[in-house]
């Protein structure tokens, strides 16, 4: 084997002339004019030192310890079959073949790879996804993350932890209707109570009716009931009119919102609504003395289609907000608002009572127009969470704090709870409230006085009159006159409902 000296070159037709040899010190100017093809897999090429030494289309069978390439020594389309030592390195070159062993090391790759994960000069970099680097979640908020198909977090935020009793609205899904048991009523005055916890403003009489499940449409998925308001005429709302559906929330249940202070919390109202009309509808939040209000609006884009609305409002840092067993916060859905009570800026607190912003629909202006609402939730935070589903018994008990009521159970007649005595035709009944009432009652209301009987060992006698006598948060006393005497001395007995439609409830506990 002759030594190849400067100027020596291979020519076509002499391939495979060198076998089982070792090429050392392939220097810069000792460059094959064509490619250098390695026919054997047993040969070794080491110590590339020349900046222009190129090996193409060949095979480097074993890259051993100490083997290096120069920064300009290129191996293209070749194969390094085995990297046998951690010190066998390829530095600065370009490699486009494959690595067959996992024991080798590649350092300082000069190629920037495209995609979500890139390597440049030995440094790997993950592509950004749009998520903001931060800590998500606190003791009261939980993280909400979005993950793509590659398992990457592409968005992150927090939502209020869905703990129980986050909904400040009671009977928001309109399940409970102790007073009317599904019957329609037409408010003739303000503060006419409808479904439990829901009242009305009706500064002008008989312009709309309220009924649980009015019109018998299918509620939104997951709900069984809704509150339905129906306009009873085409009424032109006068300047001083205010008509609407409202719920007053007890101060105890909103005191943590810290309204009236610098720490007032943001709240979010969400609800399902459906109307025969389209357009912008209004409502408001307000305090007990009507010196602070926040009008809001929501849009109904399609007639007779349930739509879910979400309204987020910064907490009010001003005004006086009651935090005891009084009226702490009121939420109103307007059915008609006169010019006196229209104004303010939507979702902004004002030092006046605005029932709605300007430009809102007056439902009572269209005869037969309907507005159905359910799934009403008011919660702390800027995110509307899933409607809080409370057990029926729990929700009923929450309602009974404001309306101790006794109805014939399951449509059957039966005894009223409590103790009763009679002397002659005068009877007294003291009944315990199902739960302690917010305040003592100031009266009773009943389906009809003839719906109740007093009974003792002498028989029974129908009531002819019912009168309120006294009340505490825990019990109410009523006096009942019966048709025939129940004894010449004070005699114990009991009261019972003699018809399935009998209702007796305590008034004055509502807000």
């Amino acid at each position: 084997m002759p030594n190849f000296t400067a100027g020596t070159s291979f020519t076509d037709g002499v391939t495979n002339d060198v076998t089982a040899a070792k090429l050392n010190a392939l220097v810069a100017d000792a460059v094959p004019t064509s490619s250098l093809a390695l026919a054997s897999t047993t040969g070794t090429i080491s110590n590339f030192t020349a900046s222009t030494a190129n090996i193409t289309l060949g095979t480097i069978p074993t890259l051993t310890a100490g083997t290096t390439t120069s920064t300009a020594a290129n191996i293209t389309n070749g194969t390094i079959q085995t990297l046998t030592s951690s010190t066998a390195t390829i530095t600065g070159g370009t490699f486009s073949g494959s690595i067959n062993s996992t024991t080798g090391t590649i350092g300082n790759l000069s190629t920037t790879l495209a995609g979500d994960f890139t390597i440049s000069q030995g440094t790997g970099t993950l592509g950004t996804t749009g998520a903001t680097a931060a800590t998500y979640g606190t003791t009261s908020d939980i993280p909400r993350i979005t993950v793509d198909a590659k398992g990457r977090i592409t968005a992150a935020s927090t939502v209020t932890a869905p703990v129980g009793f986050r909904n400040r609205i009671i009977n928001g899904d309109m399940r409970i209707d102790q007073r009317n048991v599904g019957a329609s009523l037409t408010p003739t005055a303000s503060s006419t109570y409808t479904l439990d916890r829901w009242s009305t403003y009706a500064s002008v009489s008989s312009k709309f009716s309220i009924q649980q499940n009015a019109g018998s449409v299918t509620p939104p998925s997951g709900y069984k009931n809704y509150l339905g308001a129906t306009s009873t005429s085409s009424y032109s709302v006068a300047s001083g009119n205010f008509l609407g559906i409202l719920q007053r929330i007890e101060g105890y249940n909103v005191s943590d919102l810290a309204f009236g202070s610098a720490g007032a919390k943001t709240i979010t109202l969400s609800f399902w609504v459906r109307s025969s009309l389209t357009g912008t509808f209004g409502g408001n939040l307000s305090n007990s003395d009507a010196t602070r209000s926040c009008p809001f609006s929501y849009s109904i884009s399609s007639a007779n289609i349930w739509e879910q609305k979400t309204i987020t409002i910064a907490g009010d840092t001003s005004g006086t907000w009651l935090t005891g067993n009084d009226f702490g916060l009121e939420i109103l859905f307007s059915l008609g608002m006169g010019s006196t009570y229209i104004g303010g800026t939507a979702n902004t607190w004002a030092s006046a009572w605005y029932g709605s912003p300007s430009g809102c629909v007056n439902l009572v202006g269209t005869n037969g127009a309907t507005l159905y609402i359910t799934g009403v939730q008011l919660e702390a935070g800027s995110t509307a969470t899933e409607f809080e589903r409370r057990p029926y018994g729990t929700e009923l008990a929450l309602c009974q704090r404001y309306l101790p009521a006794f109805t014939a159970i399951s449509g059957a007649t039966g005894p009223l709870p409590g103790c009763a005595t009679a002397l002659g035709t005068n009877c007294v009944l003291i009944f315990n409230h199902p739960v302690p009432a917010r305040v003592p009652g100031t009266g009773v209301a009943y389906s009809a006085n003839t719906h109740f009987n007093f009974s003792n060992n002498d028989g029974n006698s129908a009531s002819t009159a019912v009168s309120f006598a006294a009340s505490s948060p825990n019990a109410t006393q009523i006096s009942i006159t019966v048709a025939s005497t129940r004894g010449a001395t004070t005699t114990p007995g009991w009261f019972y409902a003699n018809t399935a439609s009998a209702i007796l409830y305590v008034t004055g506990c509502e807000l």
Partner: protein, 56 residues
């Protein structure tokens, strides 16, 4: 529907506060103290309750 007229029916169990009753055309009735909100609103509208029945 016009609200029925309240009628004074006697004293409450405290012996001091008057109790008033009213009955709606459908038979439903109410009985409350004269301090109740509903009654006070009705009075504020300029209404006057019926007097109690004469005893004897």
């Amino acid at each position: 529907m016009t609200e029925p007229i309240w009628k004074i029916v006697g004293k409450a169990a405290d012996g001091a506060t008057d109790v008033v009753n009213r009955t709606w055309p459908n038979g439903a009735g109410e009985s409350c103290l004269v301090t109740a909100e509903a009654y006070l609103k009705w009075i504020a509208e300029g209404n006057t309750p019926l007097p109690p029945d004469q005893e004897g």
